[in-house]
Each structure stands twice: as C-alpha cells, then as structure tokens.
C-alpha cells in the first residue's frame, strides 16, 4: 500500500473521530505554539541586541560609582567618582569620542498647580552624543550654563505611539509628570525644583515607543540639567560625598578595537586617583547587554521547556489515541491482513495516521502561536517577535516527529497482531 493511500485512509479515520482527534492534537498544538513563541522571542532578542549595539556605539564603557566600605571614605582616602575623574580622563585621552558623566537626583517639582516628585539627571554637553534621537524644541544647554551652574532645565517628553496603541498599553498609565509634560507646553516656563526656580529652555521629544529600540535599556530621567547645577543645588549628599561627585561616567572610545586600550588607561588612572580604593566599577557595555540578554535567554529556555513538555504530553495523547484506535479496529486489522496487507502495511498505516495528527496539531499550533505572539509579546514592535521562515517547517517537523515517535509502539503492536485472532475479535 502506498503512502498516498495511507494518507487518504488516515484522513477518513481522523475525520470520523473528530473529538478524539481534536483532543489528541490540541496539546501538541499548545506545545507547538509555545515553541514557536520561543523561536520568535529568541530571534527577537538577537535583533534587539544588534540594534542596541548599533545605537550604543561600538566602543562603549561605563564607569559606575560603587559604595566603598565606610572606612576608606571616612578617612578621606578617596573622594569617590567625581567630575575631576572625568576631566582627568578627558585630559589623558583626548581622542575619546564621548565622555559623559551623570549625577542622578530627585526633587519636588511645582509648575503652576502641578506638583510631583521627579527624577532628574545632571549631565554635560557630551550627553548629546549618547545617541541623540530626539525631536528638539528650544535649545540644549551650553558650556556657559555648565560653567555657571545655570538654573536651566530640559524636559524629556515621552514619544507616544506611531501606529495603533497596543492592547496592553491601555492598562498602562503614564506617570504624572510624563502626562503633565505632554499636556502642558512647558517650554519657556519657570518651574520650581525643591526651593529654587529653573527655566525650561528646551523640550526633547522621544521617538514613538514602537519605533524606538532603546526602550530595551531606557533609564528613567525625565528632566535634564547641567551637571554642575545638580551638584550645587539639587544633589542629596551624605557626609562623605564630595561636592563634585557623579554617579557614573559613560565613555565611548569610538570603536570596539580601542576598548581594551581605553579600559587599561582608565583603570590605571582611576586606581591612582582613588588611591586603590575600589569605589567604582568599570563595565563593558556589551557585557551589560549580554547579561540582560542572558536573563531573557533563561526566560526563553523556560518557555521552551514548557513547550517541549506540552508537545511530549501531546505525544502521549497521540500514543493513547493510537492505542484506542487500534483496539477499536482490531477486526479491521484482521480483515486487512486477510486481504493481503503485510505487517509493514499495517505499521505504515497507523504511523501515517499519527503523523497526520501531528502535522494537523502543528498547523493549529502555528496559528495559535502567531496570534499569541501578537498579544503575549512584551511589545507590539516587530523586533520583539521575529520569526524566520524555517521556524515553521521546524515546528511542523517537531510535532510530526513527536507524533511518529509516540505512535511507534502502538503501531508496532498492531502490526504484530495475530490475523486469525484479530478476525475473530468482536
């Protein structure tokens, strides 16, 4: 008997036991959906990583402040990470593309009737080199503002959505200040931060969120001020913090090749300036992204495991159905053997039916997975759920293969039935 004939018979059998067939392939379908979802996520991760590297610049390093043990700080051995460190680095390595120190703070904001506690960041002019993808109104601050700790600030406005607002975003409330910044045009206004008055000299609007790959590692600051201004008026300092302290310094060496060289120079320089106190940490940006991706990979592995378990459960379901099918068709097997069907013919027939169930389950699973990916993924953006063409045949092969594997034993049993006994079976 040829395979085409088996396929035809298989369809007749599957169709005449719709409920049974549906039950057995539905768990395969769920498994396939989970596997497909994982494929999409893993591939999306790689696309995002590539984009993150593109935007971050190839030669990115981050020097972050770390709390040192109290003693060395108390005796004034090291002042912690400071603007002085940044200036020394700049002086030692004028070729660095970007050297951008940051100091984070928070403040009570008043703008007319609006009050809120806001996160703010003090930065230098090099901040503009951190992948500027804003729409600017007004102006950015200049070296004069920085030198004089001018009381000026820049509002970062959220980007909104370019396309349709995704389903989940309806349940997502902007924080108060982000909403206020969008509703009220703050450019040119004078606002109060803690007990000082500041002029909003510029508004930077983020690109639409669904077009912005940086959502992946975006930080929270909503107000940008000159670093010196934050240091002088807004930073909350402990007794041991220096007046020109910063939280971190982000360096872009310009290319991947120059990272090790810059890293060595920075380590030597800071080690000297900090007198050996390890109150800072140098992080390779790629390592950070790698770590983030590592976490996501663990998540993907978990989903994949669920998928594999579901497919295996589906396989057991198919095994069960095949066994049940064989029991209800023992007489038919006898008839087929009497009419000249060999053991191999019987084996092929039941395997074909199982494989068909597997393929149908796989197709249903792909449908389920595709609709699931649209809604389950973190973001509606196309980069999140990226599928390659081979993911589809691969998932189909997984489901059909599982079905075949699990049908092997029952089909073998069927082929070994004694034809005389089978014919006599009622």
């Amino acid at each position: 008997m040829n395979v085409g004939e088996s396929v035809r018979t298989g369809f007749v059998e599957i169709w005449s036991h719709k409920t049974r067939s549906f039950l057995s392939f539905s768990s395969i379908a769920f498994g396939v959906a989970a596997i497909l979802y994982t494929f999409a996520n893993v591939n999306g991760m790689y696309i995002r990583r590539t984009k993150a590297f593109d935007i971050a610049g190839p030669g990115r390093l981050e020097i972050e402040k770390r709390e040192s043990g109290g003693f060395s700080a108390l005796v004034g051995l090291s002042k912690g990470l400071t603007t002085g460190d940044a200036e020394a680095m700049r002086a030692a390595m004028p070729w660095l593309y970007m050297l951008s120190p940051t100091l984070r703070a928070s403040a009570d904001l008043r703008d007319g009737d609006f009050r809120d506690r806001v996160q703010l960041e003090g930065v230098t002019l090099d901040w503009a080199k951190r992948g500027w993808v804003f729409t600017k109104r007004g102006r950015f601050f200049n070296s004069h503002d920085l030198a004089n700790a001018a009381r000026v600030c820049i509002v970062l406005e959220q980007g909104g959505w370019a396309g349709k607002k995704p389903f989940w975003a309806r349940f997502w409330r902007d924080d108060n200040f982000a909403g206020h910044a969008r509703r009220a045009d703050m450019l040119g206004r004078t606002i109060q931060l803690d007990d000082g008055l500041y002029t909003v000299i510029g508004v930077l609007k983020n690109p639409p969120r669904d077009k912005d790959p940086r959502w992946f590692f975006r930080s929270g600051g909503l107000l940008i001020l000159p670093l010196t201004t934050v240091q002088r008026y807004l930073a909350r300092r402990g007794a041991t913090d220096s007046l020109d302290g910063v939280d971190n310094i982000i360096v872009d060496t310009g290319s991947v090749e120059t990272i090790p060289r810059a890293r060595r120079r920075i380590e030597a320089l800071l080690s000297g300036r900090h007198r050996g106190v390890a109150d800072y940490e140098i992080k390779d940006f790629r390592e950070m992204v790698q770590n983030m991706l590592e976490n996501m990979r663990k998540y993907a592995v978990a989903v994949l495991a669920v998928g594999v378990v579901a497919v295996l459960a589906g396989g057991v379901g198919i095994m069960n159905v095949t066994l049940a099918t064989i029991f209800s068709r023992i007489r038919e097997i006898g008839v087929r053997r009497a009419l000249g069907g060999t053991r191999a013919d019987i084996l092929v027939q039941f395997l074909t039916e199982a494989a068909l169930l597997g393929v149908l389950g796989g197709i249903a699973g792909i449908g389920l997975g595709l609709s699931g990916i649209r809604y389950l993924s973190d973001d509606g953006a196309e980069t999140v759920a990226a599928l390659l063409w081979w993911h589809f045949p691969a998932t189909l092969a997984i489901s059909a293969g599982t079905a075949l594997l699990f049908a092997l034993y029952p089909a073998y049993q069927a082929s070994r039935l004694d034809p005389v006994e089978a014919l006599r079976y009622e």
Binding site: M1, N2, E5, V12, E13, S16, R331, E332, G334, V335, R336, R337, A338, L339, G340, G341, T342, R343, A344, D345, P419, V420, L423
Partner: protein, 228 residues
C-alpha cells in the same frame, strides 16, 4: 490447486487441543468443494490454514504447487494477496469506506495504480450486480448486497482459489439462493472454490463434500445431483 497432507494443528503446547488431527486431501483446479461439519469440528482452523492465516503444527501444504512451509509472514501474506480470495460470513467490509473503496483495498496492497484499481473495481461491482451502488457505504446496503461487495472484493486480485466461510450464514434464504447462484457462475467460469457451511442444501450444490469431525475428514462425498 490445494494439496494438504497429514496436517495437524495443536493449540497450546504438545499435549494441547488438537484442532486438526491429520487432515489430508487434494482439491484439483476448477473444483467446487464444500466443507461440512458441526461447530467446533475444526473447519475454521482448516480454513485458516488453507488461507495462510495460520500455520499447521505439522504436515505439508502446497498451494498452487508452492510449498508454504518455512515461508516468512510477509511471503505468506504476499501469496495470500495474489492467489487467494476470502469471503466471510459477516462480510467484514470496512464500515467507513464505500463499496468501491472496499473492493479497491486488496488491489492497493498489491500495488496497482489508482486508475487500474478503480477500473477493475467498477468492473467487479458491475459483475456482482451492484452497478450504480459503488459509492454507498456498507451501512447503506442490504445484507445480500454487502456479501456481493465481499465477493467482488475477494476477486479483486484475480485469485486462483476462493475461500468462503459460511458466506450465506447471515443471509435470508432468498438472498442465499442469489449468492449461491453467483458462486456457481464463478465456478462455471473455472474458479476453484472451497466453501465452509453447515447447511446441507448449500453443500449439495458443490462438486464434492468433505465432512469434518473432531479434526479429521470423516467422509469425502460426491453429491448425486452434480457429478464431478
């Protein structure tokens, strides 16, 4: 066509139940032989051995001059497919298939092309008087019609020997007469027939009656009505 000699079939181990206890006979080509006997006498076992569904414990069996001892399961299946046709008491049609598909089934195992299968199946169904009912399923056919499909199916691979196990056992007397007429037609065309029955009226239509009792042939008669 059929030569069996001293065939013994024992179920279980050596001291078990002797279903066939030294059966020997020969059926020449073109003969219509009936096997008669009370239930439990071993006629079903005999038919299974003759149909290559079961292997004798000892004794020899030659089908169409081929010795079947020592053949593998696949070889016996191929022989069965190519030389034998089965007609069953309970028809044994596959319920979810149409008459046409049922007749096509053995030809599928024999590897005929789809076109040849359909052509031959249509011819066979017309031959047994079921023209126009090819696409009905067994449930939509009467008992007599089902047995006609069964006979058409048994002829699908142009067998040399037809084995019929109580082919009229589930039919009323009028339909039985029609089915027997069909068997006699086949016989007249030269088909070798072996028919198991316990109905003397049916057996009387054969060339020869083999009476089986307790696993042995107890009589080999030639009915006066139809001398050989």
């Amino acid at each position: 066509m059929v030569e069996i000699d001293a065939v013994v079939k024992v179920y279980g181990d050596a001291g078990g139940y002797r279903a066939l206890d030294g059966v020997s006979f020969t059926v020449p080509e073109g003969q219509f032989a009936a096997i008669m006997g009370p239930s439990g006498c071993g006629k079903s076992t005999l038919l299974n051995v003759l149909g290559l569904m079961d292997q004798p414990t000892s004794g020899s069996y030659k089908l169409d001059a081929t010795a079947v001892q020592g053949l593998s399961d696949a070889e016996r299946t191929h022989l069965r497919r190519d030389k034998l046709g089965f007609v069953f008491q309970s028809f044994n049609l596959l319920p979810r298939m149409t008459a046409l598909q049922n007749v096509c089934l053995p030809m599928g195992y024999a590897g005929l092309s789809r076109k040849d299968r359909l052509e031959r199946a249509h011819g066979l169904l017309a031959r047994v008087g079921l023209k126009g009912k090819e696409l009905r399923t067994p449930l939509e056919l009467s008992g007599g019609e089902r047995q006609r499909v069964g006979i058409a199916r048994s002829l699908a691979n142009r067998p040399r020997l037809l084995l019929a196990d109580e082919p009229t056992g589930n039919l009323d007397s009028k339909t039985s007469v029609e089915i027997m007429a069909l068997f006699r037609e086949l016989h007249a065309e030269g088909m070798t027939l072996l028919l198991v029955t316990h109905d003397p009226g049916i057996a009387a239509q054969a060339d020869r009656i083999l009476r089986v009792k307790d696993g042995r042939i107890v009589a080999d008669e030639r009915p006066a009505a139809q001398p050989a």
